[in-house]
């Protein structure tokens, strides 16, 4: 076992540990071998949130990396988020298109032959978060999914302090609490098959990751 070293010429910046483990295990389920020392694999940095990620992004773009990716939540206003990312990239002399590509964005980096990739959770076109992406991997017609949503709404009515804007996040954690092994973190739930690994969006994410980090 040898995870990618931080000296790797490939770097992926994500918001936090949930994103880190989700990417690792989703990609592992899709055949990516994180321990294959014969090839460059991205070292993934959880940055501590979107603001911090946006601070680090231009500094990383200037670095001697061959491939750099960022995965971050679009949140409520995708166009604003994209404008922020574009501004930061511009600071490091990397030009991004006016709007994100639906298959994930990949452009040429500063260095010759280098690549820069951006994935906006959930799908580069809708507002949302990592949790929106993962809710797409809940097995369809799972008996407890709809009920987890109703229970979250009901709980809030009864005074639970979770916010309306975090409804999906609360629902997802509620649903995870009701599995055979209750309360698994996202990454483990992906690894053990609690989440499915196929959805149209997941397929596109995997293809984006492979275009950025695997294809020569």
């Amino acid at each position: 076992m040898a995870a990618p070293p931080k000296e790797s010429p490939y770097r992926l910046l994500v918001e936090g540990p949930d994103d880190l483990h989700s990417v690792i295990h989703l990609m592992a389920r899709h055949g990516f071998d994180w321990d294959d020392e014969s090839r460059a694999r991205p070292f993934i940095s959880p940055t501590g949130g979107v603001e911090q990620l946006l601070r680090i992004f231009p500094v990383a773009l200037k670095g001697p990396y061959q491939r750099i990716g960022i995965v971050l939540d679009a949140n409520s206003r995708l166009a604003d988020r994209w404008a922020q990312i574009r501004g930061r990239a511009n600071r490091a002399d990397v030009a991004l298109p006016e709007s994100p590509g639906s298959e994930g964005t990949i452009v040429e980096g500063r260095q010759p032959e280098s690549r820069v990739g951006i994935w906006l959770m959930p799908d580069n076109s809708s507002p949302g978060t990592l949790e929106s992406f993962l809710s797409g991997l809940v097995p369809p017609d799972h008996p407890a999914w709809a009920y987890a949503g109703e229970a979250t709404t009901e709980a809030r009515k009864r005074g639970a302090r979770c916010l309306e804007k975090d409804h999906l996040k609360s629902t997802l954690h509620t649903w995870l609490a009701w599995q055979e092994e209750p309360g698994l973190p996202f990454g483990t739930a992906l690894r053990t098959g609690v989440f499915e690994t196929e959805s149209e969006t997941a397929r596109r994410f995997v293809a984006w990751f492979n275009r950025l980090f695997v294809e020569s």
């Binding site: 931080k6 940095s45 940055t47 601070r55 680090i56 231009p58 500094v59 990383a60 670095g63 001697p64």
Partner: protein, 345 residues
């Protein structure tokens, strides 16, 4: 102070622009990317006379291959200037240009030209100094190139410390030269500052002296009643002493340090940078240094965190092979890179 540097056709640079330059500038980059050549470009433009031309060639031992006994005899005094030119190409028309902008605004151009009155087999090396963007030439000098392609550096001893430009090499310091630099500081208030600087490594040092015919540096340690040779306390002290003495000798000018981390443990590097930044500011010295060491780079970030007032004084430039400009990081970006373990070298 140089704020911007342009180098064309000098050594490995086809064309390179370096800006912004601040009080203290650290150059990083792969082997053979041109970090040392960049120091040499600064040296040449700062000296601004033909006397500076051969310095780097002498340091690099760029000699000609002697083709006769006479040449063999003089070989030690003759350098091969071809390496100063991009592609190691010495022929009529070869030229390089180095320009600085800032309070030192100087343009230095060196060209190879045939000597018309002596037939075509003789060439000369022309040195012209002016102001960037101006056709006026303030200084024009030349050296004759021998048939075997060598030039004899001007009579002034090439490694005599220039009052304005100090170049400190990676290898072990030249104690003779250090002795002279030290003599210039003895019995001045700065003598004590040198001792204080050495305490970064060895807090027990009370006094420093250069003793005897061989000018052996010795120190007085707290609680020890006789002088202890500096060399017996480890190589790092010698390197730090060299750095401090060169810093003082560059007053009002430029200090160029190749591989600044040589011999220094990472634990003292923040203090080393603090010393350099504070002293450079006080003495109006602009510092250019190279390193391969991540610890050395991270120490600059720690310096900025500990002493936010240093923010404006520090810039890091990565020199990349064949690129037309360096990639630069300000102090805050260095902090971000250090915190998130982002590579800058």
């Amino acid at each position: 102070m140089i704020r911007k540097l342009t180098v064309q056709g000098f050594r490995c640079f086809r064309e390179l622009h370096v800006e912004p330059l601040t009080r203290v500038n650290l150059f990083v980059g792969q082997n053979n990317a041109g970090k040392t050549s960049l120091l040499e470009a600064v040296e040449l433009v700062a000296i601004g006379s033909i006397e500076g031309l051969a310095r780097s060639a002498v340091r690099r031992r760029e000699r000609i291959l002697a083709e006769s006994e006479v040449e063999e005899e003089f070989k030690e005094h003759i350098v091969d200037p071809s390496h100063l030119f991009f592609g190691h190409n010495l022929q009529p028309g070869s030229s390089f240009l180095i320009e600085s902008e800032g309070t030192l605004s100087t343009s230095v151009r060196c060209t190879v030209e045939p000597i018309s009155d002596q037939g075509t087999s003789f060439w000369s090396l022309h040195f012209r100094k002016g102001i960037p963007g101006s056709p006026l030439i303030y200084e024009k000098q030349r050296l004759t190139i021998s048939p075997s392609g060598g030039v004899r550096p001007p009579p002034k001893r090439p490694l005599e410390p220039n009052p304005r430009v100090s170049f400190l090499q990676a290898d072990s310091p030249d104690l003779d030269q250090l002795g002279k630099l030290w003599d210039a500081l003895v019995l001045t208030p700065e003598e004590e500052e040198v001792t204080t600087a050495l305490k970064i490594i060895e807090p027990d040092i009370e006094r420093l002296a250069a003793l005897g015919v061989g000018r052996k540096f010795s120190v007085k340690l707290t609680g020890v009643d006789r002088g202890i040779p500096l060399g017996s306390l480890g190589g790092g002290l010698g390197n730090l002493l060299a750095l401090v003495l060169h810093l003082f000798s560059a007053r009002g000018g430029f200090l160029l340090i190749d591989e600044i981390d040589t011999g220094l443990h990472y634990s003292i590097m923040v203090d080393m940078w603090r010393l350099i930044v504070e002293t450079a500011k006080k003495l109006d010295v602009q510092v250019f240094a190279t390193t391969h060491s991540l610890d050395c780079v991270r120490a600059l970030a720690r310096l900025r965190n500990k002493y936010p007032e240093t923010t404006e004084e520090i810039t890091l430039h990565r020199v990349e092979k064949e690129a037309s400009k360096t990639v630069h990081y300000d102090a805050e970006e260095l902090v971000i890179a250090a915190e998130s373990e982002i590579e800058v070298r």
